[in-house]
Amino acid sequence: MPDQTILRPPAEESYAKELEALRASDSRPKPPNWTLSPQAVTTYIMGGKLEDGTEIEPKYYGSRRLIEVAVATLATDRALLLTGIPGTAKTWVSEHLAAAVSGTSRLLVQGTAGLSEEALRYGWNYARLIAEGPSERALVPSPVMLAMQQGKVARIEELTRIPSDVQDALITVLSEKILPIPELHTDVQARQGFNIIATANNRDKGVNELSSALRRRFNTVVMPLPATLEEEVAIVKNRVEQIGESLRLPPAPAPIEEIRRLVTIFRELRNGKTEDGKRKLKSPGSTLSTAEAISVISNGQALATHFGDGETRAADIAGSLAGAVVKDPVQDKTAWLEYLETVVKEREGWEDLYEACRELLD
């Protein structure tokens, strides 16, 4: 039983039942050291119903083919790179892939600009190093090294934020599957099943582009934004319900009408045109990803629960909606105002939303 006070348990714990059911019914050949067969991994991510009646919840809404490419990549010995603009479920998918393939999603390196090579290779327990000299016991393995030793999948978040010279430490690991430890005249050789899933976003500026040597060792899968309004509404609804559960908000049905309006607004602003394709719009500089739509709605739900009557209304989401759209106080604000005045104002049944948003701007 997972600890109920944990804010967000890792995938392998929150979906332990599904994984167990999949394992039990999985009769297809598994690549060495995988807990599930590639087909079962795909089913785990995309959802479905097992023969024994267990319902597998979909973790990713979108193209099955993309997930198949990702799983097939992990089954060959190439590493997987998930890219896309922020909020396209890169991290989410990588976590679930690792959980399904290796049974753990916790061999994780969080890429930052200040990351040092030790975080990708190994560090030293200096007290012991000084006391005993270099020895295996003084070695502090990195998640990557652990993954190599155990034949599991390691995850590297935000690969492109890691300084280029540190990124290079991965090249040998990925191509030779070996991590030399010159201090001990030894090395760590990766076991079968070892692989790396990296995520990187291609929107931010000032990131460290991957060198072509490193890029060559990754298969790249670009995570797209949801293709249709329906798909996006489904994603938001689903996630909002899950978040509501973990935040212990009193169970309320997901405000489907608000979600639909919000997703429509996000899609229209993102694409620079109305959904019916009749009008051109200014696009604000903000990302307006599905992930942000989710947070706007759950914000609104929290507001409604704690300060309102529990039903999420336009006024509850207006604040965080404006916050999500207007990132740049000048340009984004013009775009948002124009959108409000030309589209929201005229749309039937949207008067409350218009009022609520206008009120905040004045």
Partner: protein, 745 residues
């Protein structure tokens, strides 16, 4: 005894299975589903110079609109069967309904002439490619993969053809579909041929036909010969010419509109020739093509991509990777998830640009004959056969040269770019000279043959094709382009109807932008058409209709516009002004002048345009110098923004600044304007002024500089000192020669 081999047209899997089956049970006679009157072409199929993809072209020599193509690729089962039979000296017969009868049926049905399509293209998907249809039902995107999974896996290698017959018998019985008359007649004819072959004493006849027809031939005993004969009654054989022509993968591809085609000829070719390692070969091709486009693509990546494609196929439980898997793998490995590089090579990769070869000693189609005879009579044969490009200079006043120009332009109309015009000036209709670069590439043969469907001679084909293109467009600019092409190519009979279409389009268009875009070209045609001996009276009439509409619409069109469109209008007004000057005789410029005047005085018009119009009015002496000075002073008054003044100047000084030099009044206004301007404004408009002055010739600018200097130190009287700066003695030495030249002695 006979065997029915139901195949998929252009299916490499079918071809392979067929060869295996033929080896296992060698026939003594081969019947192939192809029009019987294509048989004369068979003798050439063994020619060593013939390299697929090729097609048999069937056409009525008396009526070339009746033509049909029968394409074969290396991997077509029919082609393999033909080669198999010819190699072993086994009689090979074509058994389908003769094309002449198919033409006749087509004609009876339509009651009018039209270009008949190859027989297999008229059929519904399930008849044309029943196995593709079943594959789709079975969830395969690609019927070759379905074939592979169903028939080619180890352990399945039994008698697949009897399975196919059973499958299609069931399909035909269960669906209970009413066959089209066309199909019933064809099958009757096939049965008739089969009966004849059996009566001829052959012991082991192999019948190669599309799988859909297999049941109709297999149960021969169920059909009565007299019923078949009744079906065929009234159809007469006519003489039909059959010849081999080179074909291309592009034309074999489904995407090109060939409905019996395949999605990816290049992939099918690999599946046929290198079945075992087709994926690896495919990825190696991806790498090669990407490298050619300048991307990094290494052999290691090709290997990884092949592996990923196979892993993907395994996850999807497919026995072999299909095009979908390979594309996705290539995207992830080679292109870092970006679609663009793949799109760049997609056509070459998926369809392939292979072109077949047919040796010269095989008979040709009429258009080819006409082209070659014209080439001979115009003495161009050397350039035609030459492998290196040649340049040719034409003087259009010579009849022979005019004919050459017409021929080359006609070929260009037909999209056969043998010749390219070098350094084409904008009004090239006005020139007597044309410089051509001639380079004949072998793949143009197929373009000639493609063009063969438009007519028998180059001239008639070009005429027909230009009319067809004109029928497909309502756009004024493209119609005018076509009219120009027609004029250049000497296609007078297409020219007049085109002018009519232009007239219609022009009266429908509301945007005078397009009219103004068109007028200069029309003026060119009207003025210079004569050098090409064309009747251009209709064009003159058209101009007389268009010009007034421009004059009416223009002043409103240039009101309240931004700078960028203003520059576009500037260009158009300059061109139209020139065109109207050229047409002086037939078009009274008075209305144009009034229009310009209206714009020059309109406060809302863009200053650049106002300046330009003022200048044109001055040039046409419509405004006397004082009026121009007044306009200039008005435009440059201090109340206005400096910016708009500078734009006005730029428009006004367009082309040349000489009038500033010759009209001191104008110069003075400009001088005053610049002098009175606050320093901050001056910095702002300096770039604009620079642009306005940059187009003047160096001597003009020199003179202006001098004027400006003098303006500052007013009292300097004359610059005699400058004028006497030359050597009198040396100057006088020229005088005798000048006198001689002027005949003063």
């Amino acid at each position: 005894m006979y065997h029915i081999y139901g195949i998929r047209h252009h299916g490499p899997g079918s071809a392979r299975s067929l060869l295996r089956a033929l080896e296992a049970a060698p026939p003594d006679c081969l019947l192939i589903e192809a029009p019987a009157d294509a048989e004369p072409a068979l003798e050439h199929a063994w020619h060593p110079g013939i390299i697929p993809p090729v097609a048999v072209l069937l056409y009525d020599e008396k009526d070339l609109s009746k033509a049909s193509y029968l394409p074969f690729a290396e991997f077509s089962p029919e082609w393999q069967a033909i080669r198999y039979g010819l190699a072993r000296g086994i009689p090979v017969l074509f058994m389908d309904l003769p094309m002449s009868m198919q033409f006749q049926m087509e004609e009876d049905k339509q009651g009018q002439m039209e270009i008949p399509l190859p027989s297999s293209e008229n059929e519904e998907p399930i008849v044309r490619d029943p196995m593709g249809y079943i594959a789709e039902i079975a969830g395969f995107s690609d019927s070759e993969r379905w074939w592979e999974a169903t028939f080619e896996q180890p352990g399945h290698e039994g008698d697949i053809f009897s399975a196919i017959i059973e499958l299609h018998t069931a399909l035909r019985d269960e669906l209970g579909r009413q066959e089209t008359r066309h199909n019933r007649v064809r099958e009757a004819y096939m049965r008739k041929t089969l009966r004849q072959a059996l009566a001829g004493g052959y012991k082991n006849v192999a019948v190669v036909c599309g799988a859909w027809h297999a049941p109709a031939l297999n149960r021969l005993a169920r059909f009565q010969p007299k019923d078949d004969n009744a079906l065929l009654k009234g159809l007469r054989k006519k003489k039909i010419a059959a010849t081999w022509i080179p074909w291309s993968y592009k034309r074999l591809a489904f995407q090109s509109g060939y409905r019996a085609g395949v999605v990816s000829p290049a992939w099918y070719a690999l599946l046929f020739s290198r079945r075992g390692e087709a994926v690896q070969w495919w990825m190696a091709r991806v790498a090669g093509l990407l490298r050619k486009e300048g991307f990094n693509a290494s052999a290691a990546q090709a290997m990884e991509a092949a592996r990923l494609a196979q892993a993907l196929a395994a996850i999807r439980q497919q026995p072999v990777a299909g095009i979908g898997e390979m594309k996705e793998a290539a995207l992830a490995v080679f292109c870092e998830g970006n679609e663009e590089p793949l799109q760049l090579i997609e056509e070459q990769l998926v369809i392939g640009n292979e072109v077949g070869e047919v040796p010269a000693d095989i008979p040709q189609i009429p258009l080819q004959k006409d082209l070659e005879s014209r080439i001979r009579s115009l003495r161009l044969a050397k350039a035609f056969r030459s492998a290196v490009p040649e340049t040719k200079e034409l003087d259009l006043r010579k009849a022979n040269h005019l004919d050459i120009s017409h021929l080359l332009h006609q070929l260009n109309v037909l999209e056969i770019p043998w010749g390219k015009v070098l350094e084409a000036p904008e009004n090239r209709l006005g020139s007597f000279h044309e410089n051509w670069r001639l380079e004949w590439l072998p793949e143009y043969v197929i373009k000639v043959i493609e063009a063969g469907m438009w007519g028998n001679t180059v001239h008639s084909a070009a005429t027909f094709y230009i009319q067809k293109r004109a029928a497909g467009t309502e756009e004024l600019s493209s119609l005018i382009g076509l009219a120009r092409e027609a004029l250049l190519a000497g296609i007078t009979n297409a020219f007049n109807p085109l002018v009519g279409r232009i007239e219609d389009a022009a009266s429908l268009t509301r945007d005078i932008y397009y009219l103004m875009d068109a007028l200069p070209v029309l003026a060119d045609i009207a003025r210079y058409g004569d050098t090409r001996q064309t009747d251009v009276e209709s064009v003159r009439a058209l101009i007389r209709h268009i010009a007034p509409r421009i004059c009416i619409g223009l002043p409103a069109a240039v009101l309240h516009i931004e700078e960028e469109p203003a520059r576009e209008w500037h260009r158009l007004i300059v061109q139209n002004n020139r065109a109207i000057s050229l047409l002086g005789q037939e078009l009274s410029p008075q209305q144009w002048i009034e229009t310009l005047d209206k714009i020059a005085r309109a406060g809302g018009a863009h200053p650049l345009i106002r300046g330009l119009c003022s200048r044109m009015l001055f040039d046409r002496s419509a405004h006397p110098p004082p009026e121009t000075a007044r306009l200039m002073r008005f435009a440059l008054s201090a109340a206005d923004e400096a910016q708009s003044g500078a734009l006005w100047l730029e428009g006004f000084l367009y082309g040349s600044g000489l009038l500033l030099i010759h009209l001191p009044a104008l110069w003075a206004i400009l001088d005053e304007w610049v002098a009175e301007m606050p320093a901050a404004h001056f910095d702002e408009i300096l770039p604009l002024l620079r642009r306005a002055f940059s187009e003047f010739t160096p001597p003009e600018r020199e003179k202006m500089l001098r004027l400006a200097r003098r303006g500052m130190q007013e009292p300097e009287k004359n610059d005699a000192s400058v004028e006497t700066a030359f050597d009198q003695k040396r100057a006088k030495q020229v005088l005798p020669t000048v006198k001689l030249l002027l005949g003063l002695d």
